[in-house]
């Protein structure tokens, strides 16, 4: 077999790929086309293309990610562009995919693996919890696992049973995992690039229902910015975004619930209420500062998440805000979350998902008349 892969990752003491990165960046500058309507799917796909161009140790594998380009087409064209050694289909075995990725990461690669659906990632849970999350700690930092596990997650696409789960809390609850979840195309590009370059393992939770939503984005420009600032001075990790400024109350959301929060804020504005929307972006590490600053300013907060509320990321956010902002609060923090039921089938999904009306009802409840 001819060794087509020669560059190793930097994580476990191997050769740097900075030169390759610089060259790729220079090549990219040429054909900049300005902002275009770009889907999150395209942004994610482009992030992988650029990462694979910049660093030969980046590999992409999973189920149907090769010729088909993934069931959501996020890996479209990667096998054709980079060859079957760098993008390939594995046998159908999620534990195998993640476990093999662990071994590859130990041995100098930066694997980016795809779980086909949120609810089909569970066979990999043991590998994720017992090894992905713990390897760095149990080897005293000697072994780093620079790997990304991409999970299409959450609802809103009318998926039949086992095709929509809000599984982020399982991963966020596991110490040693970073958990990213973008809500815009531009963030998706940047955050996936950062996840791939991170020396820590990242659970990259992709809101399925946002795959086809578009933003005006200049991907080449994003690439230049990212690669020029590879020092991470402007990292999105641990940095929430204020997606809309406001003064009366803060809506805290992440991933799939950010558009609902923005829509609610727009509707509230028409009724004369100014809502700020904070997009968490990385659940782990969590940006307490941005969230607390916003709530201290507005004095009121509603946390919005698709996942069941019980023992969830949303309960964690409420606890953290309460601990930091108690004396600034004019009302108890409210939550708008999925109900504590198994993820509903398409015919019932509509009743389950947090929508604009339910969010506005919660806002109305924030003791405005006191």
């Amino acid at each position: 077999m001819s060794p087509s892969i020669t560059t190793s990752s930097e994580a476990n003491g191997n050769v740097s790929s900075a030169t390759a990165r610089a060259a790729a960046s220079a090549a990219a500058t040429a054909g900049a086309a300005g902002p275009q309507p770009v889907t999150m799917a395209k942004a994610l796909n482009t992030a992988m293309v650029h990462a694979m161009q910049s660093d030969k140790s980046v590999l992409v594998f999973g189920e149907d990610v090769g010729k088909l380009g993934g069931v959501f087409r996020i890996t479209d064209g990667l096998m054709a562009t980079f060859g079957e050694q760098r993008c390939f289909d594995t046998p159908l075995a999620e534990s195998g995919i993640v476990g093999m990725a662990v071994g590859m990461a130990i041995n100098g690669m930066r694997p980016v693996v795809e779980m086909q659906f949120d609810a089909f990632a569970y066979p990999a849970f043991e590998q994720i919890v017992s090894h992905v999350a713990k390897m760095h700690n149990r080897t005293k930092g000697k072994v780093k696992l620079p790997m990304v596990i991409r999970v299409p997650y959450a609802g809103g696409i009318g998926g039949v049973e086992h095709h929509c789960d809000s599984s982020e809390s399982y991963y966020a609850h596991t110490a040693g995992l970073k958990v990213y979840t973008p809500a815009t195309a531009a963030d998706a590009y940047r955050m996936l690039r950062e996840a791939i370059d991170s020396d820590d393992p990242v659970m990259f939770m992709e809101p399925k229902k946002l795959y086809w939503s578009k933003d005006l984005v200049d991907l080449e420009r994003l690439r230049e910015d990212y690669e020029a600032k590879a020092d991470r001075g402007t990292s999105m990790e641990g940095r929430a975004a204020v997606a809309r400024s406001g003064t009366d109350a803060t809506l805290i959301a992440y991933g799939p619930s950010v558009p609902a929060a923005l829509a609610a804020a727009a509707a509230a504005a028409e009724e004369g209420r100014s809502l700020e929307v904070v997009d968490i972006r990385t659940i782990v590490p969590f940006d307490d500062e941005t969230v607390a600053a916003s709530v201290r300013k507005t004095g009121r907060a509603v946390v919005i998440a698709e996942a069941h509320g019980f023992a969830s990321v949303s309960s964690e956010i409420v606890a953290r805000v309460q601990e930091r902002c108690f004396h600034y609060l004019a009302a108890p923090i409210r939550r708008v979350t999925g109900f504590d039921v198994p993820y509903p089938a398409p015919k019932l999904e509509h009743y389950y998902l947090p929508g604009v009306d339910r969010i506005l009802d919660a806002v109305d409840d924030l003791q405005w008349e006191d």
Binding site: T6, P91, M100, G108, V143, A175
Partner: protein, 418 residues
């Protein structure tokens, strides 16, 4: 690649190729070669030989070639004298380590020790068959194999003293941290081999597990991945008959564990796990074939766990003394001593030198594990991520403050009582 000349079965070289040699079925290198060379079918190559491979019997006699269990396509040359002597020394050291650790557990100086007493031949062969640069992925029972790969004995026992980390640097030694979640490490072996193959390196990876562990899903996934990606991984199963209390018959009704290999399209072999000569012969050839590009192999070693699962277990609840006695007679050390002495390779002086070396390792363990290693509470936070998150920094500060106040409190109490 070729199956080396030294593996040729006498008298079978001219056998006619079987009908399975059809051009359109894909055969891994060694299987295709065996079909061509020995005229056996691919299935016969992948299936284990009819009997386990045994070269030195339990009384220390070298068996006649015709009685070693070898067959065409399943031929194993006798390892060289130097390798056998090295193996014997490691056997003695391994036994001494097992004894020493069991004593340290009784004295409360080790938290737990899953002893490999009785399985030392497997431990030693697993380490010696590999070349520098090859990787090993061991289990909790394989501390002796880890040491035999060159890891410092005290570091190899770090987990068992109840420390929070794995002790040694896996990248330095190319030995995974001894793994407890059963068979999860087999997939890491597959990944390490896959990465090496993509870079064009000829690294071989030996992945270890027990008989009971073969029921786990990751065993299946790892063997299948290794076969499909045609990776140089040797799956080495120490069949010591029990998984804690559960005998193998409750795990599997396959004719043998080695028979599982054919279902993945790889070759399997079973070997007397208390005969280090046969183990080295089989594993050396497996490593050679894997390195030459034949893909993965499965080797099942028949052995016995002479002691309880760990010090916390009571083996008398599930097995008879008579069964244990049967295996005492099959001891891997005594048969090797008899064999080497009979061949004039080992005399009293040699024996004494080896015993001395074993004793110095035991002393190292007693001293190393007797020492109290100071713990740094801040280590709780240091290595969770490559750099601590703001939340972990906050929690680290909280603990530091709590400890500082405790210390200040203790100091003022001491002052007051002066």
């Amino acid at each position: 690649m070729t199956i080396s000349a030294d593996h040729t079965a006498p008298g079978t070289a001219q056998a006619q190729p079987g009908p399975e040699q059809a051009e359109d079925i894909y055969l891994p290198g060694a299987a295709a070669e065996a079909v061509r060379k020995f005229g056996i079918t691919a299935e016969d190559y992948m299936l284990p030989a009819r009997h386990q491979i045994q070269m030195v019997d339990q009384d220390g006699n070298l068996k006649h070639h015709s009685e070693q269990g070898t067959e065409p396509g399943h031929e194993y040359p006798l390892p060289g004298d130097h390798e056998l002597l090295t193996a014997y020394a490691q056997l003695v050291i391994g036994r001494r380590v097992n004894d020493q650790n069991s004593a340290l557990v009784r004295q409360g100086r080790m938290a737990v020790y899953p002893s490999s007493q009785g399985q030392e031949a497997c431990q030693v062969a697993a380490a010696l068959c590999l070349a520098e640069g090859d990787w090993m992925f061991p289990t909790y029972r394989d501390a002796v194999a880890v040491m035999a790969r060159g890891v410092d004995p005290v570091q190899a026992m770090t987990i068992f003293r109840g420390d929070w980390h794995g002790g040694y640097d896996p990248l330095e030694h190319k030995v995974g941290i001894q793994c407890t979640p059963l068979t999860t490490q087999l997939l890491h072996a597959v990944g390490v081999a896959h990465a090496a193959k993509l870079r064009g390196e000829d690294t071989v990876v030996l992945a270890m597990c027990g008989d009971g562990a073969t029921s786990e899903g990751d065993f299946h996934e790892a063997l299948n991945f290794a076969a499909v990606f045609h990776l140089p991984v040797i799956f080495f199963v120490q069949n010591n008959q029990y998984a804690i209390s559960v005998p193998l018959a409750h795990q599997s009704v396959a004719p043998s564990l080695a028979h599982k290999a054919v279902g993945y399209g790889m070759a399997g072999e079973r070997v007397d796990g208390n005969d280090v000569v046969a183990l080295l012969a089989v594993l050396d050839r497996a490593v050679k074939l894997a390195r030459e590009g034949s893909g993965p192999l499965l080797v099942e070693a028949h052995t016995y766990r002479m002691q309880a699962h760990t010090n916390a277990d009571d083996a008398t609840r599930y097995r008879q003394d008579s069964e244990v006695a049967l295996w005492t007679a099959r001891d891997p050390l005594s048969r090797m001593r008899t064999y080497l002495a009979g061949r004039g390779l080992l005399d009293d002086d040699g024996e004494a030198r080896i015993a001395e070396k074993a004793e110095s390792v035991a002393t190292q363990l007693r001293n190393g594990l007797g020492e109290d290693v100071p713990v740094d509470p801040q280590d709780l936070f240091r290595y969770v991520f490559s750099s601590p998150t703001p939340q972990l920094k906050e929690q680290a500060a909280l603990l530091a403050d709590e400890l500082a106040r405790d210390a200040a409190g203790a100091a003022s109490t001491a002052e007051a009582s002066e």
